[in-house]
Amino acid sequence: MTTEARDLSEYRQMEESVTLSEESFVEGDRELLTLNIGPHHPATHGVLRLVVTLDGEIIRDVSPVIGYLHTGIEKTAEVKSYWKAIPVIERMDYLAYYFNGMGYCGAVEKLLGIEVPKRAQYLRVIHLELNRIMSHLVWLGTSALDLGAISVWWYCFREREQLLDLFEMSSGQRMHTRYVQIGGVAEEIPRGWEEKVREFLAIMPERADVYGDLLNKNEIFLQRMRGVCPMGAEELRQLGVTGPLLRASGDPWDLRKAMPYSSYEDFEFKIPIGTQGDNYDRYAVRLAEIKESVKIVEQALDGLPEGPYITEDRKVALPPRHELATSMEALIHHFKLVTEGMRVPEGEVYNAIEGPRGEYGVFIRSDGSSKPARVHMRDPSFVNLQATPALVEGHLLADMIATLAVMDPVIGGVDR
């Protein structure tokens, strides 16, 4: 009995003395193992494949292999008229559909040179920020799930469900809503929607605190996050990383503040930044962003101006339904828009907005016809994912899973 107890404590001592991450690696000293993770692996958040070279548990090399979800959306958009391309473009980053639509429609509006009514801009902001909260909730739930904290997932998806119901109420769809239109938004918000949103806004900050309470004092979570895979702002900037990942390193770059679009200059909000640039900061920045988004939506609802929800330029936006029965001109406009679509003047444009993962930039080349000659999405997931090798090399395999989860790549956006 006593010997057994002594043996056990000796074993514990030996176990504690092993610190793999600090062991030095001598070339040729031991065998390297190449491990394939994915493309079908729950920890890779979609069909991402990682070829990892391991020395024990330490990652010496990682090469991401992408393209398993390539659907040729940019090519498909070239054979669709401008407004019929919105649904396919929304399906790129499937957690940020309002952002995809907003980036694309904003670009077309710049080419057309049309003014978006103030009310439409506010409605866009409300939906964009609700979408940002939704995306962060999915990220938080799945990331915590990767670290074994399953209960957070249930709570996050409870709130997400509420948001999707709001989207369904305002546009008829839970996902891929096609709510943002060229020149404005698709529909007026229905009666009772504002009250529902306010109900949600009243509980959301409290719920965000609940997630914080669940995770911030969780010893396992803290050990997996604090000080894991840090990176400085300058290196991230060189790699083109944007969004919460960059802000977690203390770089307060946010397009909503720096180069405002869609009336973001009307709202007061803060940009949360981190100090260490480790996984914990990346988590904390996003959690704080949820609360800032709530503030923006509140202000936008309070200040929601009266007026049209879409531009009254009949060459761009469909006429109201009731006009079709009485006005010949409205009928012609409707017919032209539905069959041929709008003609966009020749030119090129790059329009960038701040999404939940960073800069969504849409490049469009118009050749003067009713179909775009080229659509390119600068998707933040695609660019941010390049930083994976630099972030995780020299760290433990388990930390790579945590870091990948915290980076929040959406493979639909990576592969497009």
Binding site: E74, G113, E348, G361, R378
Partner: protein, 166 residues
């Protein structure tokens, strides 16, 4: 984006021997340069305050010549401004120097432009296909590549589609 005068000033700073032209519209300022000079042009823009490369993407101007084009979307965080650089290369000799050694963010976007348009970035550390399969033939985003050029594979025809089933 810089106004028309600012764009000309920027173009003059880059040097008239490398600049082929400037485009200034309501929504875009673009400098087109000689392909072989693109690395030094981006370095000069970095010195002028445009310190971030946001996007690199290919383009096909079919049927205009030279057909292929690479766009570099630059951002200045100090001036809160954007400017674009464009290089055009013919389709039978589509070589552009890679900017990846100076701008690590260009790595995957250049691979994508190679994959989709067949533009060869000389000096790129790892120029392979990125989105399409490694053994894929053709560059699908060229304008003369047909949409629907790829047969849709079902269980009933998978053995008859060439290159797919054994």
């Amino acid at each position: 984006m810089p106004d028309a005068a600012g764009l000309e000033k920027l173009a003059a700073a880059i040097g008239p021997e490398t600049v082929l032209g400037t485009v200034h519209t309501d929504c875009r300022s673009e400098i087109s340069v000689r392909p072989e000079a693109v690395v030094s042009v981006l370095a000069k823009l970095r010195a002028a305050g445009y310190g971030d490369l946001r996007s690199v993407h290919g383009l096909d101007y079919f049927p205009e010549e030279p057909r292929l084009c690479v766009k570099y979307e630059m951002l200045s965080r100090e001036l809160l401004d954007r400017v674009s650089v464009s290089v055009r290369v013919p389709v039978d000799d589509p070589r552009v120097p890679s900017v990846t050694p100076d701008w690590p963010t260009a790595n995957w976007p250049e691979r994508e432009a190679f994959d989709m348009f067949g533009i060869v970035f000389e000096g790129h550390p790892d120029l392979r296909r990125i989105l399409m399969p490694e053994d894929y033939e053709g560059h699908p985003q060229r304008r003369d590549f047909p949409i629907g050029g790829e047969p849709v594979i079902f269980t009933h025809n998978e053995s008859s589609v060439p290159g797919w089933f054994a």
